[in-house]
């Protein structure tokens, strides 16, 4: 071993560590993503503090109260506004919730229009630098829940508009991927209810048929039979339902004395929105593993990554929400009625994410390649420094450039995190008058109980919504 050491070596080592120390805090501090920044809102929702959730979101949106719409549409505004709309829905402030959803929907349409042809259905961007593009599950849920907002506010005309918007979105998604994304039985079910109550029989039947394509809703037997008597619209599913033996919609477990009273009956529609959907968090994956997963979607040469200081890819990973409730119980005047699972958004969002995961990983690696290439450029420029310090300056420049770009590059964890994971429906024929409902949300987190009283007019209806956000 030579006894002579280059005088530059200790300096180089010191500068290298100094450079890393300089870059590391920047990388850590600047990387708070959407889901991290809205964690307090979900924490409050999990604790059952709806007002607290609303407060956090208003602060996030820079609005004084929920009566205000944001004045500036930034990258996270749409999705945060959707979060607030769900909180307002849970609070029973249907009008304000609808206002938020209409505003967010309008912005989403403009964003989709602004994208390149053929890209509208690709919500694969894994970095948060772009504008927000809602996945199919969120687009359909938006119109479905807003339809419910209008129904709950007693505005069937507004609900009709949302039904039409739901259909446009559903048909558009159906064209994109042969109908794989055009789910949303809940929206079709509520749209059927809206048109049934508007007296538009054929349209109501068509929507119920749409819902039946996805789920065998036993609660639709009576409404479909009623409507079919006044309409010539038929489909295999409608025929199948009509061919069944005449039945009351009374649950098997109901006692005999609870048989529905004679006409004119009223009806109670109960919607239970439970839990929260999975959401995204920034996650690291070793480059080797990531390249294996996203190889087909990588742009650029991965060889440049060999000199990168960072040996992992940061991407948005979907994680369970940890919500408390996933099922419920409904008693009407002391009699239990079955709740039907209309939409399992939890499963739909997981399915959407898993299908896109290779593209998301591929996009993350592509961004990593861009960073590494810029770092190499900085290294080359630094190497030209005089007085024999070129290598050190080059190394530091590369680290600084890569660090700065890593800091600016955040995985896109934006999603509508307060969407309910499970939507249940029940339809209960009742005699006109006052009725007592006992609704209980249940799950691993215990129970949440609500007592509700409704007044139903002869031949009329009442709609009850229970949204827990947890």
């Amino acid at each position: 071993m030579s006894g002579r050491r280059s005088p530059a070596r200790p300096l180089r080592r010191a500068l290298k560590w100094a450079g890393l120390a300089l870059v590391a805090p920047v990388v850590v501090a600047a990387c708070a993503t959407y889901s991290e920044r809205t964690q307090l809102a979900r924490d409050a929702a999990q604790a059952g503090d709806v007002a607290g959730t609303e407060k956090v979101l208003n602060k996030f949106l820079k609005t004084k109260s929920s009566a205000d719409l944001p004045t500036e549409w930034k990258k996270e505004t749409i999705v945060a506004l959707l979060e607030r709309s769900m909180v307002l829905h849970a609070k029973g402030d249907w009008r304000s919730s609808a206002k938020d959803m209409v505003a967010a929907d309008k912005e989403l349409v403009l964003l989709d229009i602004g994208r390149d042809a053929g890209q509208v259905g690709k919500w694969i961007f894994s970095d948060s630098s772009g504008k927000y593009h809602a996945p199919p599950s969120e687009k359909l849920a938006l119109n479905a829940i807003n339809m419910l907002n209008y129904v709950l506010a007693g505005d069937l005309s507004g609900a009709r508009v949302e039904a039409k918007r739901f259909t446009i979105t559903r048909e558009y998604l159906g064209q994109l991927d042969a109908g794989k994304s055009a789910h949303g039985a809940f929206g079709s079910y509520i749209a059927g209810f809206v048109f049934e109550r508007l007296g538009e029989t054929d349209t109501a039947l068509r929507y119920y048929d749409e819902a039946l394509q996805e789920q065998p809703f036993p609660s639709l037997r009576a409404p479909v039979a009623r409507l079919a008597a006044r309409s010539s619209f038929r489909s295999p599913r409608i025929d199948e339902l009509l061919a069944l033996q005449p039945t009351t919609t009374q649950p098997e477990a109901a006692p005999a004395e609870a048989t529905p009273p004679p006409a004119p009956l009223g009806e109670i529609l109960v919607v239970m929105n439970l839990g929260r959907v999975p959401y995204k968090v920034p996650e690291r994956m070793p480059i080797g593993l990531a390249v294996g997963m996203g190889a087909a979607y990588i742009t650029g040469s991965a060889a440049v990554l060999e000199r990168s200081a960072l040996k992992f890819v940061v991407y948005p990973e979907l994680v369970p929400s940890g919500a408390l409730f996933n099922t419920g119980q409904l008693l009407v005047d002391g009699v239990e009625w079955p709740l039907e699972l209309a939409t399992n958004l939890d499963a739909e969002i997981v399915r959407e994410y898993e299908a896109l995961k290779p593209k998301i990983i591929g996009a993350a690696i592509t961004r990593l390649i861009v960073r590494a290439a810029v770092a190499e450029g900085a290294r080359a420029a630094g190497n030209q420094a005089k007085d024999g310090a070129g290598a050190i300056v080059g190394l530091l420049a590369a680290l600084a450039a890569e660090g700065a770009m890593v800091a600016a590059d955040k995985p896109d964890t934006r999603s509508w995190t307060l969407l309910p994971a499970f939507v249940f429906v029940a339809r209960v024929p009742v005699a006109p008058g006052q009725h007592r409902l006992a609704v209980t949300a249940m799950g691993s987190g215990g129970r949440e109980h609500r007592d509700i009283s409704v007044d139903v007019k002869p031949g009329g209806f009442a709609v009850v919504d229970v949204t827990t956000l947890r």
Partner: protein, 208 residues
């Protein structure tokens, strides 16, 4: 040994590698006044979205009112001034929340009919109050023609004006177009016969 000369290129590179910032000073939004007689006379001319704006409404109403006042029905009732007419809400069958705009359109129509001196118009506020009350009591839709007939009769109207607006909504090749069609009808309460009907159209789009 002085290190200053070696640090200079490093600082330069650090500055270069930092994310670029956009200078936005001077772009703060401000409120302006527009319309005839203001500093922005053309402010209302540009389309801001695919929904119906005031200019669309005025033109749709103008088309319908011109046709209405040139119709045989108008000629007939002009012979007997004071005929009572009710104005029923326009049914929104579009994919846009334009109920407020439609109310404005009906308000403009009411103004024009009242000022014509030919017909007596039932107060829309009173009519809406009564219609909503009965609709809730009887669980009826206010757009049900039989219901409209029933309420108009109770209000003493001989005719009622109603209509619906629908859309064809399409996305294609980075663009979105919404075609609005407004149908207006005058219905005779006693017979339910259509005495006047007209269609006016307007398209709005987001193009590139």
């Amino acid at each position: 040994m002085s290190t200053r000369p070696r640090i200079l290129p490093l600082l330069a590179l650090l500055a270069l590698s930092a994310p670029l910032t956009t200078v936005t000073a001077g772009c703060k939004p401000k409120a302006v006044r527009g319309g005839p007689g203001t500093e922005n006379p053309n402010l209302d001319q540009a389309a801001m979205s695919t929904t119906l704006d005031r200019r669309d409404l005025q033109e749709l109403m103008r088309t319908n009112m011109d046709k209405l006042m040139a119709s045989p029905w108008w000629g007939q009732i002009s012979q007997a001034p004071g005929t009572i007419v009710a104005i029923w809400p326009i049914k929104n069958e579009t994919s846009e929340h334009i109920d407020d705009q439609l109310n404005t359109l009906l308000g403009d129509m009411e103004t024009e009919l009242v000022n014509s001196g030919v017909v007596s118009v039932v107060s829309r506020e009173r009519q809406a109050e009564m219609a909503n009350e009965v609709a809730v009591q009887q669980n009826r839709s206010i757009y049900d023609p039989n219901f409209a007939n029933q309420i108009s009769r109770q209000l003493g109207a001989k005719y009622y004006i109603t209509g619906k607006v629908g859309t064809v909504d399409e996305y294609f090749n980075k663009e979105r177009r919404v075609q609005y069609t407004l149908f207006m009808q005058v219905i005779e309460v006693e017979t339910s016969l259509v005495r006047f009907q007209n269609k006016s159209e307007r398209s709005k789009a987001i193009v590139r």
